[in-house]
Amino acid sequence: MAATDVARQVGEGCRTVPLAGHVGFDSLPDQLVNKSVSQGFCFNILCVGETGLGKSTLMDTLFNTKFEGEPATHTQPGVQLRSNTYDLQESNVGLKLTIVSTVGFGDQINKEDSYKPIVEFIDAQFEAYLQEELKIRRVLHTYHDSRIHVCLYFIAPTGHSLKSLDLVTMKKLDSKVNIIPIIAKADAISKSELTKFKIKITSELVSNGVQIYQFPTDDESVAEINGTMNAHLPFAVIGSTEELKIGNKMMRARQYPWGTVQVENEAHCDFVKLREMLIRVNMEDLREQTHTRHYELYRRCKLEEMGFKDTDPDSKPFSLQETYEAKRNEFLGELQKKEEEMRQMFVQRVKEKEAELKEAEKELHEKFDRLKKLHQDEKKKLEDKKKSLDDEVNAFKQRKTAAELLQSQGSQAGGSQTLKRDKEKKNFF
């Protein structure tokens, strides 16, 4: 059995073959959907906006539930991101929803670096996914996808134009995530002001080259609705956690002395449009765009940065393994070099230490010799002294014996002498 001969007949460019009966694969979309339902969906929203614009309230209203969390203060030293994950269930569909919001955005005096934590966060999520994808043993289908699918950018309702902070941040984010700008707290603007505001915002975005997310219009079933919605961007929304009885129904609304703003009333605000677009019509498209456009871009940049290329200068296709190997060898070579260096350093140090120790030894020996000599000198001196002392003692002894001899001789003659002396003494008295 020699080599395989695979004759791939594509049949004149994949011709369509008519079916003679019911085969049954029209259940395929259902099979796919059932699989997805059992796996569950995940959706990650990033809310960027200044403190107090109603980000948390809007999320509560959008998903019709109360998410936990306290409102942030204005005294944050820097921009931070707070992320929470929730499991929502509607009929049999489970959704793992992650909401990330900025804390302290726009509160600092110097806002130059405000966008950086956000960009870093988004990149970190891409990085985590890339790491998982590049692993040798990976479990991508059970991996919890934490990449941000949509960024809701909250614009303050000044009524004039975008702030420069907004422009800068949106420009930095537009290549990394799908941005949907919304005008927050829209009940502060009147209708005529709102139209002018929207026009101003869109023109500013266009003139600054900010790519916001356009709802897809290529599929006929949603092209129409998406097309009209595209014209309404940015949406002016209101969020509310309070319910009021209006007419005979309970609905979410905000009550003012001069009237009540109903959240779900299309004439009052664009909340319904936002919910429609975000969740009911385009959730899947948002996820797909994130994966196929933003993530691929990140991946490409990252891999190129790491030194991988698809084709080398001779435009022969490079294999990833080759680059891996080359890098690996390079790395090993470096490691070896470093090892050598360290070894040499070690040897040198040892030598130095040895020399030092030898010197110390020599010194010690000298000291010892010196002390010994001193000791000997002392000993000699002492011996001399002893000798002289002995001589003296001997001399003394001799004198003593001589004296004694003399005494014994003189005691006979001296007896009378003593008497005489005694007499003299007596006579004296």
Binding site: G11, A20, N64, T65, V139, V281, R300
Partner: protein, 358 residues
């Protein structure tokens, strides 16, 4: 900047009808279900792909079976007869067609293996087949690791391999056992008893039991694999299927009139064997398994298990292979060379701890 990831605090459902709902009851439902429709639309637009491989000796009715399965002339069944010499080497033929039903487009690729098991010495006749399967995995891997990769990587990996067992009535032959052992580790294998009209019902049952016994003795894990059953429903459904595998099938592409109905069948002097009649043969079971209920599952297991296994081996061995341009051709892998991949047992729905190993 540390995103605090709190453990998921389950929020109450947003169904307006249940009494324990939070806030507003008349605020419309959130609409998360709509994502299912979005998925469907996307899937229908993109179309589906399915690659099936049929393996078996010539004359077992493989081409007819494929035609019957997909109710179209996918293969012009050429009985190798007079004038056409039997191929000296095992050749693989692939044909791709696009079939459409109720708006669902399916790009079907059928790979046939004429010459399998036909030679006198059939030693290593599975090598070209394994090589072909691995080559498809290789192709996909190469596309996946490109820097600029396509939006949708064309999937040519073999999703299912239907193995035709000749209806001897005894048990699996050594060739069958060898082949099945090797293939079960790389691809989903569905064994079927071909030309089952030559066996009576009792013979079929006995043959089936013996084959199941053989499979168990040699630790051959055919599709649906027991270790991938996710929940209790799957288990029940799949154990029913496992009881009937291998299916005894008959293929036919001619129609005949039976009781006024037009049915696909084989006409013989002693009667007409209806292909779609459960009392006659188990073709409907095979068709349901392959197309109506488990097609997506076949694709998922190929992608999540077999392809991942291949990828692991490939990336681990990459430093052993010689350098070459772009595509590194993997020689038809003989199992002695490859360290047999551990099937990722708890791969679906539960976290795999095998990453710690690396």
């Amino acid at each position: 900047m540390d995103p605090l990831r709190r453990s998921p605090s389950p929020c109450s459902s947003s169904r307006p009808s249940s009494p324990s709902t939070p806030p507003c009851e008349t605020l419309g439902p959130v609409g998360i279900e709509a994502v299912l429709d979005q998925l469907k639309i996307k899937a229908m637009k993109m179309g589906f792909e399915f690659n099936i491989m049929v393996v078996g000796q010539s004359g077992l009715g493989k081409s007819t079976m494929v035609n019957t399965l997909f109710k179209s002339k996918v293969w012009k069944s050429n009985p190798p007869g007079l004038g056409v010499p039997t191929p000296q080497t095992l050749q693989l033929h692939s044909v791709t067609h696009v079939i459409e039903e109720k708006g669902v487009k399916l790009k079907l690729t059928v790979t046939d293996t004429p010459g399998f098991g036909d030679q006198i010495n059939n030693d290593k006749c599975w090598d070209p087949i394994l090589g072909y399967i691995n080559e498809q995995y290789e192709r996909y891997l190469q596309e996946e690791i490109l820097i600029t990769r396509q939006r949708h990587i064309p999937d040519t990996r073999v999703h299912c391999c239907v193995y035709f067992v000749p209806p001897t009535g005894h048990c699996l032959r050594p060739l069958d056992i060898e082949f099945l052992q090797r293939l079960c580790r790389t691809v989903n294998v569905v064994p079927v008893i071909a030309r089952a009209d030559s066996l009576t019902m009792e013979e079929r049952e006995a043959f089936r039991r013996r084959i199941q016994q053989n499979l168990r003795t040699h630790c051959i894990d055919v599709y649906p694999q027991k270790c991938f059953d996710e929940d209790i429903n799957d288990k029940i459904l799949n154990s029913k299927l496992r009881d009937r595998i291998p299916f005894a099938v008959v293929g036919a592409d001619r129609e005949h009139l039976v009781n006024g109905r037009c049915v696909l069948g084989r006409k013989t002097k002693w009667g007409i064997i209806e292909v779609e009649n459960m009392a006659h043969c188990e073709f409907p079971l095979l068709r349901d398994l392959l197309i109506r209920s488990h097609l997506q599952d076949l694709k998922d297991i190929t992608h999540n298990v077999h392809y991942e296994n291949y990828r692991v081996i490939r990336l681990n061995e990459s430093h052993l292979l010689p350098r070459g341009p772009g595509w590194v051709n993997l020689a038809p892998a003989s199992p002695g060379q490859l360290t047999s991949p551990r099937p990722l047992k708890v791969c679906r729905g539960a976290h795999d701890d095998s990453e710690d190993e690396f």
